[in-house]
């Protein structure tokens, strides 16, 4: 991959993520069975398969257009909170990317920030609520700070993946305050949040794609 993120890179990222979700479907479902209704793995798998089908049918020319296709597919095929949240995130990333032919490290950081803010707005969640937002926020801040410090795209996204991977276990002792796990009250303590884990996987795919 070059210095900038192209449409082909973003499409490859989502293919990589779709495969990771398919491979991790059972784990996500198992995590969701403990704190929710046990469908996070199957739902996200269905959505990402549909997104990849759409990309196969017609690969868009800009990173923004790829984000748009994937976001729309997730919104229209997944349902549940995860469809709305991931869909909103990618649609916001699409808007932030505009019609740029490729995204610089700074533009990727800005798109991630818009996506993260979109999750907070759609889910009405804040830091510490023990949702996927905590992972997106930590990863985005890490990417922003690495890029501000002069890191290139690959190093910036690697920092994001590390932050995501560190955040998920840090959230385990928290009590959920938003999302379906919050209905458990104190019983949500001690569990890994399924949306946080699927978000970690996304940031790891993003970092892997940047060095591919």
């Amino acid at each position: 991959m070059g210095e900038d993120l192209t449409a082909a890179d973003v499409a490859a990222l989502f293919r990589r993520y779709a495969k990771a979700v398919a491979d991790g479907k059972d784990l996500l479902t198992e995590l969701d069975t403990a704190v929710g209704d046990g469908d996070h793995g199957t739902n996200l798998d269905r959505g990402m398969k549909a997104a990849v089908e759409a990309l196969d049918a017609d690969t868009p020319a800009t990173p923004g257009a790829v984000f748009n296709v994937v976001g729309r597919r997730l919104v229209s095929t997944v349902g549940g909170a995860s469809g709305a949240l991931y869909g909103t995130a990618f649609l916001r990333a699409a808007t932030a990317s505009g019609d740029a032919p490729a995204l610089s490290a700074e533009q990727v950081a800005a798109a991630l920030r818009q996506a993260t803010d979109g999750i907070a707005a759609r889910g009405k969640c804040a830091a510490g609520d023990k949702t996927m937002y905590d992972v997106w926020l930590a990863a985005t801040e890490a990417v922003e700070s690495a890029v501000a410090g002069g890191a290139g795209l690959a190093a910036g996204l690697a920092a994001g993946a590390v932050a995501a991977a560190e955040t998920v276990p840090r959230m385990v002792p928290w009590q959920a305050r938003r999302g379906r796990a919050s209905y458990l009250g104190e019983r949500s303590v001690g569990h890994r949040d399924p949306g946080a884990v699927s978000s970690q996987v996304l940031f790891e795919c993003l970092a892997a794609q940047a060095t591919a």
Binding site: R46, L85, R178, Y183
Partner: protein, 334 residues
Amino acid sequence: MKRLYNEPDAVVDEALQGLALVHPELLRVTYRPTYVTRADAPVRGRVALVSGGGSGHEPMHTGFVGPGMLSAACPGEVFTSPTADQVEAAARAVDGGAGVLLIVKNYSGDVMNFEMAAELLAADGVATETVLVADDVAVEDSTYTSGRRGVGTTVLVEKICGAAAERGADLAAVVALGRKVCARSRSLGLALSAGTVPATGRPGFELADDEIEFGVGIHGEPGRERRPMESADALTDRALAAVLADFDAAELTGDVLLFVNGLGSATPMECAIVARRAVRTLGDRGLRVARSLVGQYMTSLDMLGVSLTVLLLDDDLARLWDDPVETAALRWGR
């Protein structure tokens, strides 16, 4: 697990195909985006009622589509909210020019998807209002959580608002009525065993032979606590005590509507036994069961359990409850 499924992935579509084939006079089913509308929609000049939610709760919501109740229902995947484009398409299909009321159960996925649909509809000039049902007393009401789940009261809101819309009430009046029903109604469910999601083939949770889940959600989410199994009467009283404790004590007088809902595997006999005790216990508390609904209306696949809902009636609510309704699952007065 032995079940009358063909392909686990096809259960939602196949159940809808069955519903459409046996009720051609009542409803129409559209696929991709998927929604069910009453056969005579859109009805000009009448407020349209649109609800929806995950599948696996049948007959809710598709079985409540028809004159006197819902104009449209949007079934999602099993235990998964519908998508925003399903809700938007359904609302457009049934909008008769008098506005659309979205009836939403308080689960984060449902709330977000209906909210996105409402934004799309509003941007296009369709008058849209939402009534959010959050009646489950099992969830501690706290500003730090997503709030209470929407359970049995949903059926009562759909019936009563549907009657008002059929009588020609305007959107503001139907919304106000829906919020009134929510304010006067509380529910609690309990499970003796979990439902099994078709795609996974595994029960949502495991309970020992001598355990129950008290305050269970309709997706098998754990509830308030895991307790020892007791007799039907003792469990009924325990559930009613939790429901009644949540009302303002001064409100607890006069006529009520009692809704005893089977969660999928409770037999009609079990529901009747629970209803027997509930009517007596409510009577002991000075509450007369003036209206009732007993049966399987809001299920959780094959969960073995019941939910109890108490609605404080007034003349207006009782009259609207008695109004004619003609749907696959509820019909009277026509």
